[in-house]
Symmetry: C2
Subunit: 138 residues, 2 copies
């Protein structure tokens, strides 16, 4: 029993719709296609994006937020699709998954420490602010 909300997901998107939604340029979207990360259909000349393509775009942008290159994002996206068939490839896939996980764990640690330092910096800045206000209003 899946209860869908009353907002129906569009079955297709234009390039400028996607650009507006994600606040990027159409140039960027075409660039991702050039690099093999997107493969929209064509209605004549014009690009038509399916909901699946839209998801791929979201994954690309999430990758960017995490500092991934487009090649890295492509690799990650490729991890979702069917199973790459043979044993060797599957083992390489499992290795890459493990590597990515390790990298993400490092990023988690980096974020934690940076968060702590931001807290400290904030504390000092607030203290300095109070002091600064006193000096300006003695």
């Amino acid at each position: 029993m899946k209860a869908k909300a009353s907002i129906v997901e569009p079955q297709s998107y234009s390039i400028s719709e996607l650009a507006r939604e994600f606040d990027i340029t159409t140039r960027a979207i075409r660039f991702y296609e050039d690099k093999g990360l997107l493969k929209p259909e064509r209605r004549g000349q014009t690009r038509v994006y399916s909901p699946e393509e839209r998801v791929r775009l979201k994954l690309i942008l999430r990758g960017k937020r995490l500092g991934f290159s487009l090649d890295e994002s492509r690799e990650i996206i490729d991890m979702y699709d069917p199973a790459h068939g043979n044993v060797e490839q599957l083992q390489r896939l499992l290795e890459r998954i493990a590597q990515k996980r390790t990298q993400l764990q490092q990023q988690l640690r980096d974020i934690e420490s940076l968060m702590g330092e931001l807290d400290d910096a904030e504390t000092r800045a607030e203290a300095a602010l109070v002091k600064s206000r006193k000096e300006e209003n003695p």
Copy 2:
């Protein structure tokens, strides 16, 4: 009562020592200096790095792991130093701290979801691997 370990921290480092330690090139280190992220002293012509400069380098590299540009890393590093004096600057600093925190929280969410997806992908890949092995050894 602080009990220091028996390993004494060097009081200074050469550029190639730092390059080896962090597995980067001396070219990169000089580049960071060009961009104003490092300011080593000089013994004659030669650069001499204090432990503090070494920490700054570590912060730069942590920034890179989080996908920050050098400009962003410089901003973050600048958040640590004395208090920038006047009220306006302190308020801008507090704003930037808040912004960075928001960004890091987004990164945390991104990592969480990606971690989950890696788990799924791993599960599927392992299943496909078992199946693939059976087919090769029927």
